[in-house]
Symmetry: C3
Subunit: 206 residues, 3 copies
């Protein structure tokens, strides 16, 4: 359980940074930036906990989650003068958060005895929902519906996780490989413009 907590903290920090840069792009005030960082970082875990009935949700019970978001947001803001391209920073931290939270969500599902397919779905929800409400709040088209692989990276990482689990890989390397594979799937898909197949005829473009 210890190690899941570390993954959770790392994911929270990564998504807070991603949220901060997304909010900076939209020129929100400092309080708006913090709210966006908060919903990005804690939105996915909150939805997961509400769906499984783990309430009161844990960021109500201690100040820790809020503090991690606050410190990560401040750290991100200190670097804004140095950084030229917000989108790239957002992309990298968003991908890292995606990896950490997928692993956390899978372990949550396993601890409840859920089916592997459901565990992967729960990991994907944990990882993706914070970004979805960030994007809806900022009036962006959610990244999850953009062309590149997004939720699909979480699902592929979840499949990697269960294949390695079957092969008897122990927990620590298992988590790390799953996490790294999600970050790589996501970043490579953006770099090389990987896309999932589409159904309709291409002539219908416009």
């Amino acid at each position: 359980m210890e190690s899941v907590m570390i993954l959770d903290i790392a994911g929270t920090a990564a998504f807070s940074v991603a949220g901060t840069f997304a909010a900076m792009e939209k020129k929100l005030d400092i309080f708006g930036i913090f709210i966006i960082a908060f919903v990005t970082a804690l939105g996915g875990g909150t939805l997961r906990d509400v769906l499984i009935g783990e309430v009161p949700v844990k960021w109500l019970l201690t100040l820790n989650s809020g503090l991690i978001v606050l410190l990560s947001t401040i750290a991100a803001l200190l670097f804004t003068n140095v950084i030229r391209n917000y989108y790239n920073v957002l992309l990298v931290f968003d991908s890292i958060g995606l990896g950490f939270f997928t692993v956390v969500g899978i372990h949550t599902g396993i601890s409840l005895g859920f089916n592997p397919v459901i565990c992967i779905a729960l990991g994907t929800i944990t990882a993706c929902f914070g970004g979805v409400i960030r994007d809806i709040s900022l009036n962006n088209i959610p990244l999850i519906f953009e062309k590149e692989i997004y939720a699909t990276a979480c699902i592929l990482g979840g499949i990697v996780f269960y294949v390695l689990l079957k092969l008897g890989v122990p927990k620590m390397p298992l988590d790390i490989i799953c996490l790294v594979s999600i970050v790589l799937f996501r970043l490579l898909s953006v770099r090389y413009e990987w896309q999932l197949p589409r159904i309709w005829k291409e002539e219908k473009l416009d």
Copy 2:
């Protein structure tokens, strides 16, 4: 309880098809199509279950709901080459889903001993919310706020349900009449452009 489960499966299948066509119209990739079908089909029931505290929500506990969505989505995709007008197919399946899920929601409320007004509200939430998050996700104006009768069809169907219940109509025909009346209200309202009255002066148009 058996019969409510059948209604639930039928509603899930109908909304999955509606979601698939809505996602096809927006040219999402195959994974995006499945996500939209899933939230359309299971969003309303999920909100209902979270509001009444029936958690973990049931699609986390078995693969059945996900499988129904998957099979319905595949079935819908197989027909896309034949179908010329996505909007009409979407409309018909959306209306059918609306009917099934209203009846399911009313029975959920009754089993918890809620007031008839609340049962109709719960039926309306179950029926409408999946479509609302589908529309928000696809950046469409939610159908529920468009001109035609939508949630109002569920409420009228709910009133038909309770009137017939008072008259002593047994459960099976009761459910079927309620369901058919909702589908008819919705389809006729679109066909004949029925609208609810508006309050403001018409001169204020633009």
Copy 3:
């Protein structure tokens, strides 16, 4: 507990009126107006209760909340012919609702033994979320992300609450001062265009 219930009723009525005028601006039909009034008035409390696990949410258990929304909506509609500027009425009632619901949310947190920071956060969520889903539903940019002070007014009011509590001010005047200070913070911020500081360079405008 009695007095919190009165605050809750007053906040529900104020937000119903604000929701009615927001829906009138968008020329929704009478049913759409009622839905918007309902989600504006009960959305924040519903999210709060789901997050703390107080389910079934209370508007499912009695008709009272729905009736307050209905009566407030009808009252608001009766005045629409007299009122020239919907936006100002919306602003005043929205600010009043903000004040009442922040106090209700803080007391909910206190009754659960939460940390003061979390209580203020819970008050802010209770106060702000109804307006956020109203604005998203109406396809407006949420007021919470606009330039003026919004959620910040709730937080400042919460800080006033805890400072006075430390000073030994008894409950009734405490609630009233907190409430009035939130309404004033909000209205004065709009009148005098108070803004929170922004981080980016101003030359980057547009």
